[in-house]
Symmetry: D2
Subunit: 437 residues, 4 copies
C-alpha cells in the first residue's frame, strides 16, 4: 500500500566491503556474548517485568533477526529449528505467531548452551554467506540493520538485568566498578562538586535535522528536513543527583501543580518518591547499580527518571525540556564524548569541567526531550517486515536523545532517536534542561 524503502544503506556503487562487514559482525556478536559472560544460566533466564526480557532471549532474538532478515534470503538456507521462529520473534506481525512477551521468562528450554549453539550456527552461516558473496544488496543492508539491532539489545541486556537484580534482596553485583571509574562514587557529601551549569544560546532560524544518508541509520531518523527553531538556550550538562534531590526536598513529588496530569496519576499509582532504584536510608539516599548498592553521588547525572519526572523537574526549575530538534542542532556539532558501555563503568559519571561548550550530550544518560515520537515529514519505513521495526511504535512515546553509559559508542549519532513511554524508568534516562530566550 504505502511505499516502503528497502533496508538499503550500502552505497550501490561499487562492491560492499564484505571483509570489513564480517569483522564488524564478529565484533558486535562477541560484544554481546561478553556482556552475558559473567552471568549464570539462571541469571540469563530472569524476566522481571513484561517490558524487560531475559538475557537469553536477547541472545536468541538477535540471532533470529539475522536468520529471518539475512539468511532467509540465501538460497537453500534451512531454518535452524522449526520452533525458533515462534520463540524468538519479538513483535513482527508479518512474520507470524509468537511466544507471549510477558512469558519469556518461562523458556528454560532451549538452554543457554543451546542458544549459544544457535548463535554459533548463525555466525557460521553468516560468515559462509559473506565469504561466498551470496548476499544481495537487501541482505547486506539487513545485515547492517541486524548489527545495529543487536547493539540495541546489548543495552537492553544491561538495563533488563539491572531491573531483575534490583528485585532481589541479595542485591547481586553484575560487575564491580573498575578502579578508575569508582573514584567519583564516594558519598554525596564528600563527592567533588558538579561542574557549574551554564547555558548555551542558539539564535532563531531554520535548521536541518535528521540523518544525512552517510552511513547507516534507522528509517525513523530520516528524511533529513528543515525545521524552524526560535531562539533558545540549552543547559551545558545534565541535571545532577544533587540538583534533583533539591527538587525532592522541595516536595516535588507532592505538588500536583508541577506535574502533567498523567504524570501526577503515575506518581500516585506508583507511589513514586524518588528516581527508580533510590532508597532513603536515614539521612541519605542509596541506589542500586550494576556494581551493587551505593550511596547516591551528588555530582553524577540523575538517571532512572521518567519523562514525567523530567518534565516536572524542569517546570520546578523554571525551565523546560528541549525538543529533539533543539537537541540535535547542538549535538550535530558535538564530539561523541561521555561514558559508554566500553568504559565498563555502567553508571553515569559526573560531567567534566567545561567552559562554554555543551558536554555529555552522548553517553552517561539518555536525555528525555519534549518531543513525542512521531514520523518525520516524508518518513518512509523500511521495506517488508523490517518496516515494523520502528514505524508502528509512533504513538504514545517520547523521544530520548544521546545515549547512555550502557550504550555501545559506535551505535550512537546525533540523529539517533530513542523512544519510550513517558512513565518508563528502567532505562538510563536523565534530564537536560532548555529554556526560551
Amino acid at each position: 500500500v504505502s511505499a516502503r524503502a528497502p533496508i538499503q544503506t550500502i552505497p550501490s556503487q561499487g562492491e560492499p566491503d564484505v571483509t570489513s562487514l564480517g569483522q564488524r559482525y564478529g565484533a558486535v556478536r562477541r560484544a554481546t556474548e561478553a556482556l552475558a559472560a559473567p552471568l549464570s544460566a539462571e541469571d540469563c533466564l530472569v524476566q522481571s517485568m513484561p517490558d524487560a526480557s531475559p538475557v537469553k532471549w536477547h541472545l536468541a532474538h538477535s540471532s533470529w533477526f539475522f536468520e529471518s532478515f539475512v539468511l532467509a534470503r540465501v538460497d537453500g538456507y534451512r531454518e535452524y529449528h522449526p520452533s525458533y521462529g515462534y520463540l524468538w520473534n519479538s513483535y513482527y506481525e508479518s512474520l507470524g505467531a509468537r511466544h507471549g512477551r510477558a512469558q519469556r521468562g518461562v523458556l528454560s528450554r532451549p538452554s543457554l548452551e543451546e542458544v549459544r549453539g544457535y548463535r554459533a550456527h548463525v555466525d557460521a552461516a553468516v560468515a559462509d554467506a559473506l565469504a561466498g558473496r551470496v548476499l544481495d544488496a537487501p541482505a547486506l543492508a539487513a545485515l547492517e540493520l541486524g548489527l545495529n539491532h543487536e547493539q540495541q539489545h546489548q543495552e537492553l541486556i544491561l538495563t533488563d538485568l539491572k531491573h531483575a537484580f534490583a528485585q532481589n534482596a541479595l542485591a547481586p553485583v553484575y560487575r564491580a566498578r573498575p578502579a578508575g571509574a569508582a573514584a567519583g562514587m564516594a558519598g554525596a557529601a564528600s563527592s567533588p562538586e558538579a561542574a557549574p551549569l551554564r547555558w548555551s544560546r542558539r539564535a532563531e532560524g531554520l535548521a536541518s535535522i535528521g540523518h544525512d544518508g552517510r552511513g547507516f541509520s534507522f528509517d525513523n531518523e530520516g528524511p533529513r528536513h528543515r525545521v524552524f527553531l526560535g531562539a533558545f538556550e540549552l543547559a551545558s550538562r545534565p541535571v545532577t543527583n544533587a540538583e534533583y534531590a533539591a527538587f525532592i526536598e522541595d516536595r516535588g513529588y507532592a505538588r500536583p501543580e508541577l506535574w502533567l496530569s498523567d504524570g501526577w496519576d503515575a506518581v500516585r499509582a506508583g507511589r513514586w518518591e524518588a528516581p527508580l532504584y533510590w532508597r532513603r536510608e536515614a539521612d541519605r539516599y542509596e541506589t542500586f547499580t550494576l556494581a551493587g548498592t551505593e550511596p547516591v553521588a551528588g555530582a553524577e547525572p540523575v538517571t532512572h527518571v521518567s519523562y514525567f519526572e523530567a518534565d516536572a523537574y524542569a517546570r520546578w526549575a523554571g525551565a523546560r525540556l528541549p525538543t529533539e530538534a533543539e537537541w540535535e542542532v547542538f549535538a550535530a556539532d558535538a564530539r561523541l564524548g561521555g561514558h559508554f558501555v566500553e568504559s565498563g563503568r555502567l553508571h553515569p559519571a559526573p560531567a567534566p569541567r567545561h567552559g562554554a561548550e555543551v558536554v555529555q550530550l552522548f553517553g552517561d544518560v539518555w536525555e528525555w526531550t519534549a518531543s513525542p515520537y512521531v514520523a518525520y515529514p516524508g518518513f518512509c519505513p523500511f521495506e517488508g517486515a523490517a518496516g515494523e521495526y520502528n514505524g508502528k511504535f509512533m504513538s504514545g512515546q517520547m523521544v530520548l536523545r544521546g545515549g547512555s553509559c550502557v550504550s555501545p559508542a559506535s551505535h550512537l549519532r546525533a540523529s539517533y532517536r530513542n523512544f519510550f513511554r513517558p512513565d518508563t524508568r528502567w532505562q538510563f534516562s536523565g534530564i537536560r534542561l532548555a529554556r526560551d530566550v
Copy 2:
C-alpha cells in the same frame, strides 16, 4: 515557578464593552439550557462511562466555573453552597478535593431543578457584577474564558448524551432531524454520491501558526510562531462513510500491517470492526444518531473513529493525516463553513459540491491530525488555577482540528486545538487526508 499569563484577552486600552459581554453571556448560558430542554431529569443524570459526564453535571460545573473564576474575585461574594466546590470541580488540583470523576452519575442530589436554581443564581450574580462594573480585568478575562468553557461543555452535553442513549436498547431519540437536514440521510445505496475528493497543494516554506492575539483564544493556541512545512497536498473534503466502508471490506480491521502497534492492541481489546455506533445489519450498516438509529449514508463524512482508525485508514489509502500546522495553513484562509450545532442537524452532512477549494474544514467532524498535543514554543499557561485548564494534559493525546456538527459555530477558529487520547471514539471525530508531494 514558571511564569503564567493572566487570563487576559480583553484589550487593556479602553473600557471593556460590558454590555456586549453581558449579552453574549446570556446567549451562551441560554444555549446550554436549550440543549438540556428536551431532556428529563433522569436523562440529565446518566453517566455512561468515566470519560463522559451527566448533562446535569455539565450544567452545574459550567456555573461553578463562573463562580470560582469570576465571582470569587468579587468583594463580598459568598459561595452559593458549601459543598458545590467539592461536587462540581472537575480536575483543578489547586482548587481542592473533589467528587470522583467516575461517580458523577451518583449525584441525584442536588436535583436538576436545584442545579437550575444554581445557574440562575450565578447568572444574577454575574449580571449584577457586570452592571456594577465590579469586575476587574482578570475577572473579565475569566468571564470570557468561562463562556468559551461553557461552549465546550455544550458540545460534550451532546456527545456524552449520545453515548448514553446508545447504550439503551430503546435507542432514544434526542431530537428528530429537521426536515431539510434529513434529505441526505437515505440509505447508502440511494444516497447522492459524495463530491469527488480533490487535492490542494501548498509549496514548501515557512508558515506562521497559532493565535494572533485578536479576540479570545485558549492559552494552548499560542504563541503564534513560525514552522517550516515541506510541500504537501490536503484532501478537499473529509473521508466519507462509503470510502471507509471500502476499508472495512478490504479487511482493514484484520490486517495488523495497517495499524500502529497501540492501535492494533486497541482493535483486539475492543473487538473493533467498524466505527463506534455502527452495527452490521444483513447487507448494510446502521448507526445510532441523536435522531435515532439510521442507515449509514455513504456520502456523509465518517465519524466516531479513533485516531488509530484514522491513521490506519490513511495508511491503507496510501496517504497520511495532516499535521496540525498543515491543517491550519489551509484553515487560516478558509471560510467558517460546515454544519454546526446551530443547524440542528447534529450529524455530519455530505460535503457540498466543490471545485479546487478545500471545504468542510470547520463543522461536521473534528479532524484527527498527525500531531501529538504538546506545547507550542514559548507556551505560557493561564495564570493561577486556570493554568490547569489545558497545559497539564499535554501528554498522550492527539490534536483534532476544525469543529463538528455539535460545536457552536462561534466557538471555532483556525487556531483552535482540540485534543483527545488516540483511542477515543465518542466525539464526532473524522478523517481528512494529506499526502507528500
Copy 3:
C-alpha cells in the same frame, strides 16, 4: 437433565385462596411503591456500584418477574413491550440476552413514570388473571414466588439507595427517624448501655433443619434434613458497636493473625479501618444512615461489616461464628422479634433487656454464619427458568440468617437462607457469636 421441582408451594388439595393471594399481591406491590415514594426520578436512577441497582430497576424488574413467570403462562397474554425482556432480566440465562448489570444506571428511558405504568399494567393483568381463575397451579406458585422475590427487592431498594446516598457529599436523608425510634440514637457516650451478653447452651445431638413444607419457601431452604451438632453456646444478642469499637481500638484492622488470608487481602486492598459508612471524627465515629449522618451509638448492633470482619472479630473475642444449623435450631423456637422495615426505623436498634433467652435473631441485622452457601442434601432447584433463582449462586458465598431492619417481617422465617460474598458490606449485616462448650 437433573430433575427440577415445580415452583409448587400451594397445597394441591382444594382451591387456592385467590382472594387472599390477590390481597397479599396488592399489599406487597404497594409496599414497594411506598418505599420509592419519597424519592425523585433522579434518586431512582442512581447505580452506585455494579452490585447495587437503581430503584427504578428494582421497580421494573420485580414487575418483569411477574410478567415472565406468571403472565407468560396465561393464554393470549402479550408482552408489554418488546424491549422489556432485555432491559429487566437480571440474570436468567434461559430467558435470553439482557442489559449489562453494571450499566443499569444508564437507563434514563423508560422514565420512572413509564415504569410506574408498567407496574400498573402488570398489576391489572395479574388481577384479571386471578379474577378469571386462569392461573394454573404452577402459575399460582410462581405468583407466590414473585411476591417473595419482590420483598427481597424491597430490602435491596433501601440498601442500594443507602449506598448511593452515602457517596453523595450532601449526605441526603431518605427519611428522618420516627420520633420514638430516635430515642436510642444519642451519642455513644450518653447512650443506654447494651444489655449484657449471655450465652445459651445446646447439648450435642441430632437436629433437623430446613423448611418443613408448610407455606412458602425458596428451593434452597429444603429439603428438611438431619444434621448432627456438637454441644455449643450461642450469644444472646448481636455484637454491639461499642464491642466492635474495642476490637478497632485493639488494632483489630492491623493484626493479620486475626484474619483469614482473603480477609487480610480485603483489608489492605480496601483500606478498611472500620465498618462501611463509619467515619472517624476527632474522638468518635459517625456513620451514615438512611436518616443522615449520626454518631455511632454504642448499644446498637454493629452493621455493615463483611464476613471477613465478622470472622476476625469473633477470633479476637475468643469465639467463633455459628453455623447456619446452629443458628436455626435456636431460631426455630424463637419469636419473630426485632425491628423490621415496618418499624420505619431503618437502622438497627439496641437489643432489649433480656434474661436467659436469645433475642434479636430476626430483624435489625443479618447475621453472618460460618457456613458457605451450598446445597442441602437432596436439594432440588425450582423447575424451569426459576431454577436459576438460587441454585447457580452456590459458590463463593456465605450464608446469613435472620433478617434486618429493612426486611419485611412477613418475608422472614427460621429456615431462610440469605447469602452474599464474604467481602460484602453494603447489606445490614452484623455479628452473632457462638462458642464450643
Copy 4:
C-alpha cells in the same frame, strides 16, 4: 487470643524414636531432590504464573521451613543467611516480611547450587540436633510437620513444572513414561475400554470423620466428629476422558444451565472448551503430560478440570459431587490403591477392572468434593506461626480428597483434606460422582 494446639503429634509417653524419624527425614529430603535431578538450573527457576513456584523455590522454602520451625528452637542455632527468611517465607505473616509471591521467578540468586548447599546445611543441622537429642517435643512435632510439608511441595514441584513446560512451544519432556506404564496410553480409539462404572450405596446414618489421632495429621483434619449422612451412592471409579469428551460433544461448555454462575463466568473469561492442556487436533484431542504431548486416552480418568467443570459435568450426568464426609466414609475402609508418584507414571491410569467395590479413591487424580473448605467443629489450629499453615485459607476454596499420580503414597490418608479455589486447573484434579438414593 484463641487457643492453639501445639504441633504435637508425637505421643508424649516414652521417647520418640529419633532414629526412625531421622531415616524418614532423609528419605523425604532425598525424594525431593530426586524430583529435581532431571532438571537444569534454568528449569528450576521458571515461574509460569503467580500460583506456581519455581522448583528451586520449593527446594529452598521446604528447607527454610525446617530452619524456622525446628532449628530455630535449638539453643545457639544461627540462621544460615540473613536474607533467607525474607526470600523463602511463603505466607507466614507472623514470621515477617517476604519476597513477593508473583516474583519468585526473579531469584536467579542464590543459584541452584547454593540452594543445594542450603539444603545440605539444614540436613546436617537436623541430623546433629536429632543425634544430640536437643529437640524438644514441639520441635519434634514441627519436624514431623516439616516432612509432611515437604511432601506437599514434592507434588507442587511436578504440577508447577508441568504448567511451565506446557507454556513452552518445545513441549519439553520431564521424564519418559516407564515401559510398563505406557501401555494404557494408546490413542482413545484403540485404548482398552474403561471398566464399567458402578454405584456403591451407603444407608443413612451417623458417621465419624476426621483424623483419629493415631499418627500425624494436619490440624485441619481434626477433630474427629460425627456427621449425619443421608443415604447415597458413590461411583466406583472416577470419570474418564471418554465420558468427559461426551460432555464436550454435547456442548457442555456452551450451555449455561449446566454451570454455576461463577463457573459460567470462568468459562467465558478463560475461553474454556476442554480440560487444561487438552488441544483439539483434527478429530481427536491431544494433551500435554510430563512425558510430552500425547493423545488423550479415553479410559484414563479425566484430569486438570476445575471444580466448576466437575460440578457442571456432574449436573449434566444427572448426578452430583460427593461431600467430603461421603467420600471419607468410603475411603476409611479402602485400601490405599492407585498410582502415586512412586510409580513414575506421573499421569493418571485407567481404573482396574473391579466389581462392586469402590476403586482408585487414592492416587491418580484428586477428587473435587461438593464441600467448601471450612473448619471442622472444634477446629484448633497449630500453635504459633504454624497456625497459619491451614486455618487462614478456610475461605473461598473447595475440598479435594484422595491424592494423585504425583502425590507420595505415604503422604495420603482417608482424612486428608486438600483444597484449592474452584477455578483451579493445574493440579491433577478429577471427578468422582455421587447421587442421592
